[in-house]
């Protein structure tokens, strides 16, 4: 829900409540005020009739439909003014109407009269009607104003906010330009904008630092790693004994392991930075065929039965180098983690690639297999980044990736579209 709608709804709700309270207060106040004034008026009338009686006017001549004069016993105390609503006959309207009746008693010339005077009152219904109509008008006027506010003024006030939102949406790390905002004149928005601008600058510098780090990392580690490898190769040529040879081999293997990790991490970093732009669509079937031909010997030597069904001419918009890494990693995995004399099925058509291979039951959830450095513990040669790279490639190109295990088959399926 839009902020302006929430504010408007709250505002309307509160207004409605205030109007309701106002209605009740006005109703009560108006009613009692009218009754009071009318009572006073009736009192004056009664007093004037009492005066006329005192001056000797004949009592029965005075009586008419609005006036009652009753003679009561002298023993009763003088009654104070007493007001009450009553239904009485109203002559002009020729029917009974709610009327206010005021009575009071006077002792005049040794006689005790109770004088009652009636008058029409403003009925409660009439008051209510008037008040409700007034209040409704006020409420509708407010609705109208708020509507106008929503439509016109809010757009003006919130324009800088929406501009900031648009800019935020189009912000990417790749463009490498920090956010800049125009002064809006609204303190809150300017505060938000200055904060956003600062944050985007910080984000960009951090991102650049990380990027530089991962870029430098590969160079900075590769050189000493190359030095180590060279030294070990030179050492191999010295006169050494078997024990020393074993030490050299162990050091060599570990150095190779470092090299492979750095290589994989730098590929991952490049993929994450989207550094591979796909120039032209690639014949994926051809890439598959060339990688397969390179691995055929390895497949044979592991005594793996290869079954392949590859549709020719599968064209994909993918960088050729990335295509090669993708297939290479998938096939390497399916060979590396295969069983001796196991099976390898490759199925590829225009919509998907499926690679199925026999292998040991994994010791953890297959879903976790796609994470970094996830591998079955006993395979020390494996770096554990192969599938993470595959995963990242699929993310980059919007391919669906599904890894399942159904004893004894590991299956990877890539949905191209």
């Amino acid at each position: 829900m839009k902020l302006i709608n929430i504010i408007s709804l709250w505002f309307l709700g509160i207004t409605l409540a205030a109007l309701l309270i106002g209605t009740i207060v006005i109703y009560e106040k108006l009613g009692s005020e009218i009754d009071f004034e009318l009572g006073m008026e009736l009192d004056r009338q009664i007093e004037s009739y009492a005066d006329r009686i005192a001056q000797g006017a004949p009592v029965n001549k005075l009586i008419y439909d609005k006036l009652q004069i009753q003679e009561i016993s002298m023993d009763r105390p003088v009654e104070e003014l007493w007001l009450r609503d009553t239904l009485a006959y109203h002559d002009p309207m020729n029917r009974n109407e709610t009327q206010l009746k005021a009575s009071r008693s006077f002792k005049i010339n040794g006689k005790h009269y109770r004088i009652s005077y009636y008058n029409l009152v403003v009925e409660a219904d009439d008051i209510t009607e008037t008040i409700v109509i007034t209040m409704l008008t006020v409420f509708l006027a407010q609705l109208l104003f708020i509507g106008c506010f929503l439509w016109a003024i809010s757009r003006k006030i919130f324009r800088p906010f929406h501009q900031s939102l648009d800019q935020l949406q189009s912000f990417t790390l790749q463009k490498n330009t920090p956010l800049t905002f125009k002064k809006s004149g609204v303190t809150e928005f300017d505060l938000l904008n200055s904060f956003l601008a600062k944050m985007s600058t910080k984000l960009l510098t951090d991102y650049r630092k990380i990027k530089e780090f991962s870029e430098n990392l590969s160079h900075e580690i590769q050189t000493p790693s190359a030095v180590v490898r060279g030294k070990l190769e030179l050492l191999m040529n010295e006169s050494i004994n078997g024990q020393q040879a074993a030490l050299i081999q162990a050091a060599f293997d570990s150095n190779e392991h470092i090299r492979r990790i750095v290589k994989s991490l730098s590929i991952l970093a490049k993929l994450e930075n989207d550094e591979f732009e796909s120039p032209d669509p690639v014949d994926f079937s051809e890439v598959m065929a060339s990688v397969l031909s390179r691995m055929e010997e390895v497949i044979q030597m592991h005594d793996i039965q290869l079954k392949k069904h590859i549709q020719p001419g599968v064209i994909l918009p993918i960088h050729p180098f990335v295509a090669e890494i993708l297939i290479n990693n998938l096939l390497s995995n399916s060979i590396k983690h295969n069983l001796e004399g196991g099976k390898l099925d490759i199925l590829m058509d225009r919509s998907m690639l499926q690679i199925r291979n026999t292998g040991r039951t994994p010791s953890f959830d297959p879903k976790e297999m796609l994470g970094r450095f996830k591998k079955d513990g006993d395979n020390k040669d494996s770096v554990g980044l192969g599938l993470a790279i595959v995963n990242q490639i699929c993310k980059n190109y919007g391919f669906g990736l599904l890894y399942t295990f159904e004893k004894p088959f590991h299956s990877i399926q890539i949905q191209f579209r």
Partner: protein, 227 residues
């Protein structure tokens, strides 16, 4: 063969020059672009081993200079950058080969010799060692004038041994030489063993001496002093 090595890392420089010197290759060193430019303009080299990341600039500029001045030296690029772009722009500019760091020293030597054979001998050369003759132009191997029936891998392997005589060739180096970058995480040392075994068998069958020795668990060595 006279080589100019352009590399700013002193340890790497000493590794390479040590290894090449043992093979009778004279190796001069330059640690910066400036020094290298100075040297190639003053002396002539058969091959320049060129690192791309130098303290005073990109090594590709030296390559441009070589092409511009029509200097008769082959160029082998060695770079840690290892990205495809570098490789392509290097080869586009006319480098003769590209080797990503870290590399095996034996591999470097093999590449150097291959470039040398390609450019100086136009491929019409023969590598002769005692009774073994490798005719590069025809991919043929003769042992005691008898033609050996070798697979492509066995041929490559023999040439690799002959260019790195009397050096220990690690299993990794051999595997990398035969299968390239891509299979390096498939533990294919058993296949190295298979290929070496087959090669030895074929040479022996043709009456050649068994020059190839196993060096503990490390690898193999083409021992010229074998009896």
């Amino acid at each position: 063969m006279k080589i100019l090595l352009v590399e700013d890392n002193p340890e790497l420089t000493s590794n390479i020059s040590n290894y090449l010197l043992d093979q009778g290759i004279v190796c001069e060193c330059a640690t910066s672009l400036f020094e290298a430019q100075d040297k190639i303009l003053s002396f002539s080299y058969d091959c320049i081993i060129l690192d791309l990341m130098l303290p005073d600039g990109n090594g590709l500029r030296l390559l441009e200079l070589v092409k511009q001045k029509k200097i008769d030296s082959s160029v082998l690029i060695i770079s840690a950058k290892g990205s495809l772009d570098d490789k392509l722009s290097g080869l586009d500019l006319g480098a003769d080969d590209y080797l990503a760091k870290p590399f095996h020293l034996a591999e470097l030597l093999a590449r150097l010799k291959a470039i040398y054979r390609r450019t100086k001998m136009q491929g019409f050369d023969e590598v002769v060692f005692n009774e073994i003759t490798v005719i590069n132009s025809q991919f043929q191997v003769l042992v005691k004038n008898q033609l050996l029936d070798l697979t492509k891998k066995e041929y490559d392997l023999l040439l690799f041994f002959l260019t790195n005589k009397d050096r220990v060739l690690g299993k990794n180096a051999i595997a990398h030489h035969l299968w390239g970058d891509y299979t390096d995480d498939l533990s294919n040392f058993d296949f190295v063993y298979q290929h070496v075994k087959n090669l030895r068998k074929k040479i022996s069958a043709a009456g050649g001496r068994d020059y190839i020795r196993t060096v503990y668990g490390l690898g193999y060595k083409f021992d010229t002093a074998a009896l």
